[in-house]
Symmetry: D2
Subunit: 408 residues, 4 copies
């Protein structure tokens, strides 16, 4: 016995790889298919349309296949509404809940397709009925409350993976090439600079996600310059990043080493404790800047130029700054807000914070990921952003060259 179900795809389904993915998915999962209808776009601007009848031996296998197809933009042909079930308890999802991808998604409620707001991957979709109509929102497990109406199954859910852009002549054209470890470094940096400038000139927001290696490697002044000149709109980092940045301002050192002379001055290893201690006494970084305790650097420029920052605490910290969010749930929520406001994200030599931000990003956000470890860059690019570029390079030379390229 065979069971079957029809799915349909439309858009630039050939060059975006959607049709290919569907064919291979069906075969890998042990199903078969028949192309019931296929209308190929005659030229590169025309869209195509395909309707496939997917077959499997059992209902269960068919469901598994349809599930995968659905994640990849082949939507079941059905006019049915999404199925809703109440969450059984706080932070508990109903069995069979629909788990989101990071692609734009609609759900069908009362016969209408409505977009899922604040979408990111691995969330449940909660539907609320308001006087103004139904609203659907992606929610992480933490944020699920008992009796929330949660979408279950795949019926009435429509996913639209971003299509390959028709035009790659702009600054972002190069952003589809994956990891670049053997590419010309200076030219790649120039392309990234162009993409930042284009993002800013079209009114977009740039979020910089920064690891402490940025300070140790001497890139602090260049990043401060980018903040000061308005190319960074938000900053996400760990407590250590801010402590080292402030240590550098107060004592000229980073982890006790003078980043210019490479000397280790006396008592240098205490500097980060002093830096922490002084900001704690002042009450906040803003206060410390106000009192004149801090007069330069990334955090100084953030305070002075009203660039909002999120500092997340970590189990490695010598102690939290007053500004640091030590609860990881609260820190994640603050990061989530930043991620949803960003049009372009620079991930600068931090795996932990980059993954945290990346988890919250829709697949349409532009991402540049820079690290000296190729495994880190590969891991971050694997998370499925559509317009992402990775560069395996030294953050200590990258940021100064980028700042020079952008600001001059």
């Amino acid at each position: 016995m065979t069971v079957s179900r029809a799915v349909e795809l439309d858009g630039h389904i050939i060059d975006s790889g959607t049709l290919q993915t569907c064919f291979t998915t069906i075969m890998e999962q042990g199903g078969t298919f028949e192309v019931e209808s296929f209308d190929i776009g005659k030229s590169e601007t025309d869209e195509s349309y395909a309707r496939l009848s997917v077959r499997a031996d059992t209902e269960d296998e068919l469901k598994a296949i349809i599930h995968e197809l659905h994640q990849n933009g082949a939507n079941p042909i059905d006019p049915n509404n999404a199925t809703l079930e109440p969450a059984p308890a706080d932070q508990v999802v109903p069995t069979g809940f629909y788990s989101t991808t990071n692609h734009p998604t609609d759900v069908r409620i009362d016969g209408e397709w409505i977009p899922v707001e604040r979408n990111e991957m691995d969330c449940a979709v909660v539907v609320e009925r308001t006087p103004a109509g139904a609203r659907a929102t992606a929610r992480v497990l933490n944020a699920i409350e008992a009796d929330d109406q949660v979408v279950v199954g795949e019926t009435g859910v429509r996913v639209k993976p971003p299509e390959r852009p028709r035009d790659n002549s702009g600054a972002f054209g190069f952003m589809q090439g994956g990891v670049s470890s053997e590419r010309p470094s200076q030219s790649t940096i120039a392309k990234i600079a162009d993409a930042i400038i284009e993002t800013k000139s079209s009114g977009g927001n740039v979020l910089a996600v920064c690891g402490p290696a940025l300070i140790h490697s001497g890139a602090r002044e260049a990043l401060a310059r980018l903040v000061r000149t308005g190319y960074i709109d938000m900053l996400s980092a760990g407590n250590g990043f801010a402590v080292h940045d402030i240590e550098r301002d107060r004592f000229g050192t980073s982890l006790g080493m003078n980043t210019e002379t490479l000397d280790h001055p006396r008592s240098g290893h205490k500097h980060h404790i002093y830096a922490l201690s002084e900001v704690i006494r002042a009450g906040s970084i803003t206060n410390a800047v106000g009192e004149g305790l801090i007069g330069s650097g990334v955090m100084y420029e953030c305070v002075t130029n009203d660039v909002p920052y999120v500092l997340a605490g970590s189990i490695r910290d010598d102690g939290p700054l007053p500004d640091t969010i030590t609860d990881t749930i609260k820190a994640q929520n603050a990061i989530r807000e930043q991620a949803h406001q960003a049009d372009m994200v620079l991930m600068l030599s931090t795996l932990l914070h980059s993954v945290a931000v990346g988890n919250c990003l829709p697949s349409t956000t532009r991402v540049v990921c820079v690290d000296i470890n190729p495994a880190t860059v590969t891991q971050l690019l694997d998370r499925g952003s559509d317009q992402a570029v990775g560069m395996v390079t030294d953050i200590g030379t990258f940021v100064p060259m980028l700042a020079e390229q952008i600001c001059e």
Copy 2:
């Protein structure tokens, strides 16, 4: 004008490198010295003694040199007590506070040398006078309270870096060789197995610090076996480690992939959310084991065999288990307790948690660090444990081979 001060060293100061370090430190910092007295141990069991007169151009330079010498076990010759100053506020240290190394340290209070308890690096030393006498304790910045009596300067502080052991014939003899990336893998694993067995048979505690790669790479069953057979006494990990371990038990997958067949079963990507959701419903991992929800794996063996664990939350988590400590300060304190109880620490493919544990370790604790990234191993071994060995290998083959070696 020249100023000078005498310092003395004793013990196995030649083969432990102490004397060499002192000579080079003085020269690097621009000072000069005269050996006032030197008594070399005639044979390998005799101790040596040296007294140096250290000279510099200014009092400030001299202080800087003495400071460095002091960190390395050359103690100023003075019968003076340590200087104490009150902490000006909570989490604020007095200027010039003595910042600890991770070596055994004494402070001189009321004419007596007393050991600094719970010592670890980058702490302040707080002295309390009790009816039973003075006590000195190392405290992280977080734990400093206003008016705590804090040691400042170097007077009355004595550091004893661990000496090179006289005998390296035992299981730990090999643990002074730094990172091993071109060493024979199976033989090195056999040596590590011996060291664990020896630690256990002499009544020591073994702490395993575990990253999620351990589960993804299929080493879960082998680690569970080590817990079950009593070779792991404590476990330190992140929320993700436990979630993936439980996902594997409930659904046979890790991050959605079946770790045996390498298939990606239907809906696999939801499994970790379900695993989380079910434990939340049960109230704790222990409850979930009690209810029979969890029947195998590392966390199961921990619960069943009363092996205490600390799960720290992270900004990357899809959501915390009820057992997870989401506040990083509280999590660090829990990790600190584990670190101080451990006689041997296995750092298994996690940089974040290994650094957190390593920060709290005295230099006398034995450390084995295993990661596939050589930079991670180097960074962890640089933190100054005296009996530490690193191995650059695949955690997915290392743990099974280790378990086989130990348990058979």
Copy 3:
């Protein structure tokens, strides 16, 4: 003005990605296209057919696009013969020579399509007319002689990139998944073992390409066992690999370290010089085995079991064994012979030799690439083999586990 030309594709052009590649290639190169004819395979076993009219602004641009399409399996519709031009001198190609891909290729000579023999990438195609008919052979630049008839341009050349196999249930099904660094190690090794067994049981040849790290890491005995039991048919390595293997046999050390006890016995650092010296005196490895000088190890098993080996010299060598080919051109030719005879290639922790072998492989050969450096694995897999799998792991644990899996 616009110029245009028709190309056609057939086969499993959707799920193999061919059609997608063609669409994106045209757009990236600034061309446009019209689908003149499209016949989609109705089910997963049917082939599809597409004919595109490709347009560009200038003849030069059109040529560039057609060139790229051609490399990817879209062949110009023309009944013309390939154009031949004589090579102007030894090792010199005529301008516009056709440079091969590593995919199966035909050229049209005297109205007939004939296959290019011994095809590999970056070669010229030389056509010879023999009494038995025309023959076409791929030749590296080195091998071109003055007046050889060399194919120029793309007319009369047909490329067939391998299609996605219809069935991935067998041992090789998993070999399309790229690099596996977070995959379960033991299960992946089991899959590789299955693929080797299947290759052997279907009469195929397995070529092992080995780096010296294999010996240092203690995997020598396991590899020797695979040679002895007949799972390795050919071996390709450098001089150093053989020297260290023989050093281990003669002295129990590798680079002076005892690979079992991890001791460095007296004079260990001279062992590799002695090993070299003794084989030189014997005249060859075979002689040294015959004289009983060598009694175990990889080279011993190769000699004893008639497994042919190629040892290439390197500028790093302490000195060449009599068996080592010190001329790089001759060594490359010997490697080329091996590569063309292999049905499956194991690349074991050597970038240099793996690239050398990989350069000579057609895209249809199965490749397993194992290295602890993820960048090495990525670089090797990028070379375009169609059935290739990479694993980031420790060669010192990989080979023993593989041998156990295969031989037991």
Copy 4:
């Protein structure tokens, strides 16, 4: 029964670590010792002297210990001449031959200590008696001829490991810090620039060892500038480096990619074959420059500025340039000549060629090693140069920043 033998050490044996190494060596090898005489230098400029009586249980064990001590600068107290034995055949050493370290070494012949010329590690010492007196030369195994008088045993051999320099205030002061991956990049580059300038201004020779990644990453113009301005005196590279450099000049591409626009122009993948083909036709790189075929780049500047280069062939090459030495023995000999003439060596993103050069270097040559892979840098620095510094960074940003620092 115990056997014993006296050894002596002098110089800055404490701060150079020599005495420490000797103590630990004796203990690790199971021996004991008595300090018979010890005269410590009273101040940092005074030398020290130690005479130890080393004891072991058997003559064999004692020999093993003395052997190790000897390698580390503790010389047996004996007035005996070195023992000479004839080499039994070409490329065959007598049993017990003395294998060199890379430290300055003397041998005692006819009652006189004479220096070993052209010393490098893993060589035999061949003594020739000439009318002008005896001469001792280090010879690789290849260069040994039957009946050469070869030093055997340790008698009459004296090793002087370089001492820690008394002054580290100059440009080379920083060159004792090992690998720098978390150090400030720009400041480290400035230090390296100073060291190059100092080497040149004191009449020294700078050898650049270059990998092809240097061209791919876009650093070609900067390196060409350093050659043109006289900061590079010799160049060592592989065939591929030169081919890609010339491809860039002829076609604007490297491996087919335009290193400025990042485009892949039509037929780009054939460019390196054309580049090769054209130089072959011209007969040599010099001819090609003379004919105006090559007008820019590293090889062009070498030819134009009479900077000698060695190009070694490899089994990876698409074909050798006429200038390339394809025999690895001959290539190694050419590299050896360069290495012995160099006062400072820059190892730029090539493991293979850097190891080849490093093998031939005495321990007194200054070495800077730059690579993006930390394992490569660690491996190269482990080879025992005394004044070596490693930097983990991107060669594509490093060379341009270095050239700017030096030339402006």
